[in-house]
């Protein structure tokens, strides 16, 4: 069964569509990298899946049940702004969440907090650094013992060590309990380590959806003389050109002609290529 | 664009026994540090390690509790930023109602050493429309405007607190490229704090690693990672060792 499915999901705020006609299906147990430029609709999608806002069109389903204005009991959500009550201590905040949840494990929360350096249980949440608050929020999300974990920029405020620890915690969660994870992030190098599925959203639409290895295998990066670009066959995603040389990102590429070097892209190059393409589309649309 | 005329002997930052104590404890302790000129310095460390405190002491926004610090040979006197120092805070403070043009005018009015043409060049390079209100710009564009504001006063030392946070991969790449280009061409020393070491690898040539208010590691990358260990890996190893040393 799919942990999260979207069918023609759209969300409009006044005149602007934040998300438009999105469709995807995420199998259980996958770790999904949700990527795209800022304002692409990643946070909006995650919030809709968490039941915080309702789609204008379409429908989201979690484990087969439609999401209707409240969070599914098997889902936990980490919001980008890390909403926490600043005048409570960490201990009191844990107790607060325990009181607000049916299924809860305080031991799991303590375990996760213990794995992360530098969170004092008696400190007021407001006195913690941005990274400390992120760690607390992640621990609270895991205390719900979720089957689907939705994380909006979980690594954003964390220093390298904390990022390392958090990724480790997520991986253990996936390995031990088969939790499905959907995490949005800009830090592509970190994502590549843990994710096996990619969902690329841009301008509110799904541009890439699939297993990372398969997606990468379907693309090629070709480097060659700028003059010879017309000889290259395949769907061009984006190109960077200097006076003499072109670097092309292609999908379903034919074998490269002579004089061109062909490699399989890594996650960063792939995502950057799509982001460049959308930026060019945006710029040319503005100049029209 | 003429190079900044600064005598090579005057180092951007010399700190000796520098310390800062708050009510809750020492944020920075017994720190002695030299930042050589013309470097792009990565300031790394866990949250609470003292990065913002160190930046505050360099800019003169904070007063040291112990020790002394000299920026281009002068002691920060707490009377406003040293004219040769520029600081970009993490939240990239700009007035959302101002247009980009008005923001640059603000920079011109508040900085005696302002170079309007240079600032406009940076804005044009970033592709940001001059007439747009700052509040309507994207995160990446706002960062570029804030950077133009910081560079427009032609500093000798540029401090950036987490400039890449909240930016998507394309914007990060663009900002780092601009920083590197301008630092090299203008002879500016750049100190930037960031958590993402992987992308600093091609850009930074000097590392300062802080942990709990003390310096764990400081030096040119070429010297520190003589055997070619990447910057990120190096820092991570030291941070892990320090954390374990504490737990023990």
């Amino acid at each position: 069964m799919n942990s999260l499915t979207a069918t023609a999901v759209g969300k409009r705020y006044r005149a602007r569509w934040a998300v438009r006609d999105c469709g995807f299906a995420i199998p259980e147990g996958k770790v999904v990298a949700l990527v795209g430029p800022n304002g692409a609709g990643k946070s909006t999608l995650l919030r809709m899946a968490a039941g915080l806002s309702r789609p204008t069109t379409g429908e989201l389903k979690v484990f087969g049940t439609p999401v209707q204005g409240r969070i599914h009991p098997d889902v936990a959500f980490l919001a980008q702004e890390r909403p926490l009550y600043h005048d409570l201590t960490v201990r009191e905040l844990v107790r607060l969440c325990a009181a607000m949840n049916d299924r809860w494990s305080t031991e799991r929360v303590r375990e996760v907090l213990g794995l992360q350096a530098g969170v004092d249980h008696n400190a007021k949440v407001g006195s913690l650094s941005g990274g400390g608050r992120t760690q607390v929020a992640i621990a609270l999300a895991l205390g719900r013992l979720p089957r689907l974990l939705l994380l909006d920029e979980p690594l954003a405020d964390l220093d390298p060590l904390a990022r390392d620890e958090t990724l480790r915690i997520i991986m253990t969660e996936v390995a031990d309990r088969g939790t499905t994870v959907v995490m949005s992030s800009h830090l592509l190098s970190d994502l590549h380590e843990v994710c096996d599925h990619i969902l690329l959203i841009d301008e509110g639409r799904v541009q890439v959806d699939g297993d990372i290895q398969e997606v990468l295998a379907r693309h090629r990066i070709l480097v060659g003389p700028a003059a010879g670009e017309s000889t290259v066959e395949g769907t061009l995603i984006s190109a960077t050109r200097t006076e003499r040389q072109s670097t092309l990102l292609l999908r379903e590429a034919e074998p490269a002609p002579r004089g061109w070097a062909s490699t399989e892209p890594d996650l960063e190059s792939l995502v950057m290529g799509y982001l460049r393409a959308s930026r060019e589309r945006r710029n040319s649309a503005q100049h029209k | 664009m003429n190079l900044q005329r600064r005598p090579d002997q005057v180092l951007p930052v010399v700190a000796e026994g520098l310390g800062k104590k708050y009510r809750r404890g020492w944020a920075l302790r017994e720190t002695s540090l030299v930042i050589p000129g013309n470097r792009v310095v990565a300031l790394v460390g866990p949250n609470g390690a003292g990065k913002s405190t160190l930046m505050g002491l360099i800019t003169g926004l904070l007063r040291p509790t112990t020790g002394a610090i000299a920026v281009f040979g002068d002691r920060p006197a707490g009377r406003g930023l040293h004219p040769a120092v520029s600081y970009l805070a993490q939240q990239k403070p700009l007035y959302p109602q101002f247009t980009v043009t008005e923001t640059l005018t603000f920079g011109a009015r508040t900085n005696p050493t302002w170079d309007q043409r240079y600032a406009e060049h940076l804005i044009a390079q970033a592709g940001v429309p001059m007439g747009a209100k700052v509040g309507t710009l994207s995160g990446g564009q706002r960062t570029r405007v804030a950077l133009a504001l910081a560079l427009g006063k032609r500093p000798g030392l540029l401090l950036l607190d987490e400039p890449l946070a909240d930016l998507d991969p394309l914007a990060r790449e663009a900002v780092l490229r601009t920083l590197l280009t301008e630092a090299r061409s203008q002879g500016i020393t750049v100190v930037l704090s960031s958590h993402v070491l992987a992308e600093l690898e091609g850009v930074c040539d000097h590392l300062v690693l802080l942990h709990k208010g003390r310096i764990l590691l400081a030096g040119d990358v070429s010297r520190l990672s003589a055997n070619g260990v990447p910057l990120g890996e190096l820092a991570l190893r030291h941070m892990r060792a320090a954390a374990q040393g504490e737990a023990a």
Binding site: L52, Y85, R103 | -
Partner: protein
């Protein structure tokens, strides 16, 4: 969930308790000081007698001058507390969570939005009402110790006396609170909810006071035109008055004024006893047979209070339902 709401509103509840303690202490002290003043001025008997029967009128006057201000302050306190409840307890209740974004934490736990909302409401409202009722009781206790020498003698329907009696303060407090919470969820900004709530409360409170009166059946009291009806002085609420013609129908006001003017211009000189008698004889002849007044007697005051609570309480219920609806739809 109860602990959760208590912990979040802990500071507020402790402040309320502190205010209650201060209020109790102050009122008790002032009341006993006032009683001392009464006994030392030999006014004890006067307190239960009508003012004109008082044996020591100068002492009574002095007492009133000394104590009317504190007693007025006490009444004003009970008038203001409902508004303060709306502004400081109702308005920030949800506005702060929405403003700071912490509602996202609550909405992504298993507790239903309605249960979360109810729990916060109850923990905020109940102690506030308890403090209000306690203060109301204490102030009334103090006021009644002054008896006819105090403001209560003015009758149950004066603005300050009515607004502090019976269940009316609780009704106003419920309305102010519900108004505050509703404006809070709609505006999502604490300061806006507080100021708009205060403004709207004051406006509605005054706009509706006339409406309340018209909901209670009145009695018609009639009398001869020669002297003023007693109801104007005995504390009853007069909603309409005027003259009746011989058929028992009310005479329109402009006609009444014209007829009275006509009767005033009689041949005899003005101000003499004959002219007075002639004036009074003239009125029935012109068609102004009797005076009348539609009144609500003081003993009926409880009915007006009931209508008051029904209206303001009803509005409160509507606003709370609106608050719940907005929270559930929160996007």
């Amino acid at each position: 969930m109860i602990w959760a709401s208590w912990r979040q509103q802990r500071l507020q509840l402790i402040t309320l308790l502190g205010l209650l303690v201060v209020g109790v202490g102050a009122i008790a002290l002032l009341r006993s000081s006032m009683l001392d003043s009464i006994t030392s001025s030999q006014l004890t008997a006067c307190v239960t007698q009508p003012l004109q029967d008082c044996a020591v009128p100068e002492a009574a006057k002095a007492f009133q001058e000394e104590w009317s201000n504190p007693l007025d302050m006490a009444r004003l306190l009970i008038i203001c507390v409902p508004a303060l409840i709306g502004v400081f307890i109702g308005a920030p209740l949800f506005a702060r969570e929405l403003e700071q974004g912490t509602y996202v934490l609550a909405f992504t736990q298993s507790v239903s939005r309605t249960r979360w909302m109810l729990s916060k409401l109850v923990i905020a409202l109940v102690p506030a009402l308890v403090v209000l009722i306690a203060l109301q009781y204490l102030v009334t206790w103090w006021l009644s110790a002054a008896g006819t020498l105090g403001p209560l003698k003015n009758g149950a329907f004066t603005a300050l006396n009515f607004g502090i009696a019976h269940a009316s303060p609780v009704g106003y407090a419920l309305f102010a609170f519900a108004l505050g919470t509703f404006l809070g969820v709609v505006s999502r900004r604490t300061l806006v909810a507080m100021t708009a709530g205060l403004g709207a409360f004051v406006v509605v409170r005054f706009a509706l006071s006339g409406l309340v009166n018209s909901l209670v059946p009145t009695q018609r009291v009639e009398g001869t035109p020669d002297r003023q009806l007693t109801v104007h002085e005995d504390g009853s609420l007069v909603l309409a008055d005027g003259y009746l013609d011989t058929a028992g129908q009310p005479v329109p006001e402009d006609e009444v004024n014209a007829l009275i003017q006509a009767c005033k211009t009689t041949p005899a000189g003005a101000g003499t006893p004959e002219s007075q008698q002639e004036f009074l004889a003239c009125l029935p002849k012109s068609g102004l047979a009797k005076q009348y007044a539609d009144v609500i007697g003081e003993s009926q005051a409880w009915q007006v209070h009931l209508a008051d609570v029904a209206i303001f309480g009803g509005l409160a219920v509507l606003l709370l339902a609106g608050t719940a609806w907005v929270l559930r739809r929160q996007n």
